[in-house]
Symmetry: C2
Subunit: 415 residues, 2 copies
């Protein structure tokens, strides 16, 4: 089945807003085994929408449409849709009742103002918007399906997952698609490939592997196409997942594609009723930010010392002046002393300490930009490693943070 996507809205067309909706819809279609044919953005004008529909219906079976349904704009989108299908706009009583109830606090004037939300193309099947007032619409026309959804991301996502995808799956008796994920950190795409190439070569034709890299982690997706009865194929895909995961074990932090590395570290600490603190130089608080982005992190995260200066490293982390003056701030000795000082001050079970040269300035011949030392420790043991990263400040900060969290994860699991 071929799917095309139409996004309606001047904000997206003019680049004021980056279009993240299309990528979300596309990923979900791909995960169901459908192909994406074209993704098109047009202005929220009658002509823009009309010509967009004409273009996309040439090559697709299903056209997903987002945007242009707000109370101020919707007459244009709905009128363009109605004309495209050769029907009238008619009042939908059920939708009117819903809108009247929603706006009743504002009085009759508010209801009248929003009443046009209840006028829909005659051939529309209403898809309830559980998160807002602009309804979704499902159209079947000349053997193709057109689906209009609101452009507000959380409304669209909710509608897509809960109503649209199940309805499309029921309509198109495609093969079942099972997806399994491996979330990896502290390793790049090509290094993973080198280590698991032989396993991937053994994949049968109905199982595929995709590498989905982001800054700091790589998501592996194992997709298996099978008929409903062929559960053995699904079992086979799961066995491949486990084989790959055990090959790159020290980098695998979750099988849940929604889980961040910081959340996985948090889960480990919560399970063990243990705590963590960070001492950060070049990462400048970014590890603390990742950890505290997880709700409930106060159960295991005690705090951080961001020690950018020698002075703070000495006074708040008890790093020795002689260490800084002899081997420097970016050294094995310094990160180990930072970790020890932090454990003493914070009384946590674990400590992370990072010191490096994020760049673009500050590099030397022995310690070029991108040199980073990371230590992880508990009261018994400390491990430190040196990494050589890139020339790019933002990249170095974010990669260092992920390397440090993954080192801690392995430290917790293995000690």
């Amino acid at each position: 089945m071929k799917v095309s996507i139409l996004t309606i809205g001047d904000e997206i067309l003019n680049g004021t807003t980056v279009d993240t909706n299309s990528a979300y819809m596309a990923r979900n279609c791909i995960a169901n085994g459908w192909e994406i044919e074209q993704v098109l953005s047009v202005s929220d004008t009658y002509n823009g929408i009309h010509s967009g529909l004409k273009i996309l219906q040439e090559n697709a079976d299903v056209i997903l449409i987002t945007g242009g349904l707000g109370p101020t704009k919707d007459d244009i989108t709905k009128q363009a849709l109605a004309d495209f299908f050769g029907v009238e706009l008619v009042l939908n009583n059920a939708v009117y009742e819903k809108i009247a109830a929603y706006f009743s606090k504002g009085g009759q004037k508010q209801i009248d103002l929003n009443a046009k939300l209840a006028y829909l193309p005659k051939n529309a099947e209403v898809i309830d918007n559980e998160r807002g007032t602009a309804q979704g619409m499902w159209f079947e026309f000349q053997n193709k399906i057109y689906i209009s959804m609101p452009g507000v991301p959380h409304e669209m996502k909710h509608m897509l997952s809960n109503a649209i995808l199940p309805k499309l799956k029921a309509k198109y008796h495609t093969q079942e698609i099972s997806n399994f994920y491996i979330m990896c950190a502290g390793i790049g795409e090509s290094a993973i490939y080198e280590r698991i190439e032989d396993i991937e070569n053994d994949f049968p034709s109905y199982i595929h592997l995709a590498y989905l890299p982001s800054l700091g982690h790589v998501k592996l997706r194992i997709t298996c196409k099978h008929d409903k009865s062929e559960t053995h194929k699904k079992t086979e895909a799961l066995a491949f997942r486990d084989k790959i995961a055990s090959r790159i074990k020290e980098h695998v932090y979750s099988f849940d594609e929604q889980k961040t590395l910081a959340a996985a570290v948090g889960d480990l600490l919560k399970d063990r009723n243990e705590s963590i603190a960070t001492a950060e130089s070049c990462t400048g608080g970014y590890i603390a930010h990742l950890l505290t982005s997880i709700s409930g992190s106060s159960a295991y995260f005690e705090g951080s010392v961001v020690a950018y200066s020698y002075n703070i490293k000495e006074t708040l982390l008890d790093v020795k002046e002689t260490t800084l003056n002899t081997v420097g701030a970016v050294s094995e000795e310094t990160v180990k002393e930072m970790a020890a000082g932090l454990l003493y001050r914070m009384k946590t079970n674990y400590a992370i300490a990072v010191s490096g040269i994020a760049g673009p300035g500050g590099g030397t011949k022995d310690k070029p930009v991108g040199t980073v030392w990371i230590a992880v420790a508990n009261s018994d043991k400390v491990i430190a490693k040196r990494f050589q990263l890139t020339k790019h400040r933002d990249y170095n900060i974010k990669i260092s943070a992920h390397l440090a969290l993954n080192m801690l994860r392995n430290f917790i699991v293995n000690h």
Copy 2:
């Protein structure tokens, strides 16, 4: 002049990568007074590219094309372009020399492998790629212009700004466009509108105002269309900029549209040779991260204490136990004591202290989720304010950080 954009690549079409290139190109065209007609994504296949070109040439004068030019893919894109224009691919000697020089370290085999980068459609005018090996190409065909650029964002951006836009401006004798910017923090889009509505109403037809909001700041863009000789119109637009800026003075941190709030605070501190530290509870190190994202920040940023627990607030920031036990961690007294303790420990000129309930848990009737206290201080004075934000953790963290940095900015300027 109407511009359409074609992005080529399965990563974007399938949603693996969010398309940020299109928004960047669109914003730059809009800033030059050109209209965006359509933005289309297609697969990197011959048919995908060919049909994309056919669609877009219907309604646009200029078609910007990105992607599909890597050494493994480029035969398809360039072949599709050549066929579309009805020409052959021919070896471009100047490009071949450049590639040979670039790959000479890898030997003749490397050069041969990459030689196809030097085969271009016969009608291509080469646009030098100063950041990589895939050349840009400019085509004129049937009164329209087609421009092919690499898909790697930093290569495309550099080529667009330095070669493509100047060439397009020279070709299309459009009106001059002057853009002026006001970067605002600590205030929302609608609050700005209410305060400056009367000024905007006085705008003549050739001056326009756009609100470009992001999380934590709002960019105002004042666009003036004028002929080259009409410098008085430009002067008039500048006067409007200054009038608006002085009306919302406490929120304006820069006239430079590239400047972040953290960078503006950094500039102030550098100019004065002064220093800053942060004490963060609910922001969890995010303010430190924003400040240290700026290269050279070690000149004025000393460090931070991320104090998530009562214990750390007491031991590292000298907050009194009685304060925490009587008025709680989210209170005026606590953030003032955090700021004072931080100044004492870090010996900086200024301190920021933040404590709040980021959510989604932890709210009470008196202090619901989204309650945030912020203090800014120097050795003479401390100011604290309470804010009531939202129910969303990520939003609360990021907005609090921007509110705090803007409070500090005003504190520095006014004291």
